[in-house]
C-alpha cells in the first residue's frame, strides 16, 4: 500500500511553520502514524522526567488521563493533527502513554456492535 506519509514534508524542509518548531521540524512521527481515532491513555504511576519535554507534551499527558482519541486531543490542544501525532509518538517512545489502536471494521469480532450503534443512533 502506498504510504500516505509520502505527502508530508520530509525533514529537509526544516521548521518552515511555527507549529513544527514544536516538533523541531519533524513532520513524521517516530514509528507508525497514530490513527485519528486511536485512543491514547497516560500511563499511571510513572515518574515523568520533564527535561526534554515541551509544555505541549505535558499538556497532552494531562489531557489523556482518561482515554482520548488523537483527533480529540488535536482539537482540544488546537494544534495541527500532524504536530500532535509527532508529539504523541515522542510520548509513546518514552512509554508515557498507552495506545489502543482502533479495530479495523473488517476485523470487528461480530456484527452486534454495529446493530448497537444503529439502535443508539435511533435513540438520539
Amino acid at each position: 500500500m502506498p504510504a500516505p506519509e509520502d505527502h508530508w514534508l520530509d525533514e529537509e524542509a526544516g521548521p518552515v511553520v511555527r507549529p513544527y518548531a514544536l516538533t523541531r521540524g519533524r513532520t513524521r512521527p517516530a514509528g507508525e502514524v497514530l490513527d485519528l481515532i486511536a485512543l491514547v491513555t497516560a500511563v499511571r504511576g510513572v515518574e515523568v522526567d520533564r527535561v526534554g519535554l515541551d509544555p505541549e507534551h505535558l499538556a497532552l499527558l494531562s489531557m489523556c488521563r482518561l482515554p482520548a482519541s488523537v483527533a480529540d486531543l488535536a482539537a482540544d490542544l488546537d494544534l495541527p493533527l500532524g504536530v500532535v501525532q509527532v508529539l504523541l509518538a515522542d510520548l509513546r517512545s518514552l512509554k508515557l502513554i498507552a495506545v489502543h489502536h482502533p479495530t479495523p471494521p473488517a476485523q470487528l469480532p461480530d456484527m452486534q456492535i454495529l446493530r448497537e450503534v444503529a439502535d443508539g443512533l435511533r435513540r438520539l
Partner: protein, 206 residues
C-alpha cells in the same frame, strides 16, 4: 468483553470501540451542516501540502494564529455509550487536499456522500474515491430550499451507482434527518460486511 492483550495493571476493563465515518461531497454541499446537526462539532486543523515555493509564512507569529499552511476539517463525536463512540470527519472539499483523504479513509467504516442536485457533478470525485476503495457509502441528496426536487432514482442513475448503494433524500440542517442518514450508512455497511464475509451468497450482475 475481556480486555484483550492488555497487560498494564491500570488498563480499562472493557475494550473501547471507536468507529470512523466520513462525510464527503462538493464544496457547499452541506458537510459542515450535517456534522454539526448530529454531533458536537469542532474544527480539527491539519496540514496542507507545502509544495508551493515562496510561501509567505511569518514564523514569528503566535502559534494560535491560523496560517495558510493548515486546513480545518469538521470533526464531530457521537457517544453511543461508554466505550462506544462514533467519530465523524468532514473531508476537505478541494482537490489539493486529496492527500488527506487516505489518512481519513484508513480504518473508516463508511462514508456519506452529500449531493447537491444543483451541482451533482461535484460529488463524482467522492463517489469514485469510495468505489475504488470499496468503502461502503450512501448518497444523501441534500434538499436545499428552492432546489428542484429529484427522485432518488434519478440521482442514482445520474451518478451511475451500484444498485446496492442507498440514495436518501435528506435535510442536512435537521438533526433527525442527519441521524437517519447515519443509520442508513451503518445498516448498509453492516450488509456489505456480511456480504463480503459470505461472498458466494450474493452474485452481482456484471
Amino acid at each position: 468483553m475481556a480486555s484483550a492483550g492488555s497487560d498494564q495493571a491500570s488498563g480499562p476493563p472493557e475494550v473501547p470501540v471507536t468507529i470512523k465515518l466520513l462525510v464527503a461531497g462538493g464544496f457547499g454541499a452541506g458537510k459542515t451542516t450535517l456534522v454539526g446537526a448530529v454531533s458536537e462539532i469542532r474544527p480539527l486543523r491539519t496540514e496542507e501540502s507545502l509544495s508551493e515555493p515562496g510561501m509567505n509564512v511569518d514564523i514569528l507569529d503566535g502559534v494560535e494564529r491560523k496560517t495558510t499552511t493548515t486546513v480545518a476539517l469538521d470533526f464531530g463525536r457521537i457517544t453511543i455509550r461508554r466505550n462506544l463512540v462514533i467519530y465523524l470527519f468532514g473531508t476537505p472539499g478541494q482537490e489539493r487536499f486529496w492527500f488527506m483523504w487516505d489518512e481519513l479513509a484508513r480504518g473508516a467504516l463508511g462514508a456519506v456522500v452529500l449531493a447537491d442536485t444543483r451541482r451533482l457533478a461535484d460529488c463524482f470525485p467522492s463517489v469514485d474515491y469510495f468505489e475504488r476503495r470499496q468503502l461502503p457509502f450512501v448518497v444523501a441528496v441534500n434538499c436545499f430550499d428552492g432546489a428542484r426536487r429529484y427522485h432518488p432514482a434519478d440521482v442514482r442513475s445520474a451518478l451511475d451507482l451500484d444498485p446496492v448503494v442507498p440514495v436518501i433524500l435528506a435535510d442536512a440542517r435537521q438533526r433527525t434527518s442527519g441521524r437517519d442518514v447515519l443509520i442508513a450508512l451503518i445498516e448498509h455497511a453492516l450488509q456489505e460486511m456480511q456480504r463480503r464475509r459470505a461472498p458466494a451468497a450474493w452474485a452481482p450482475a456484471p
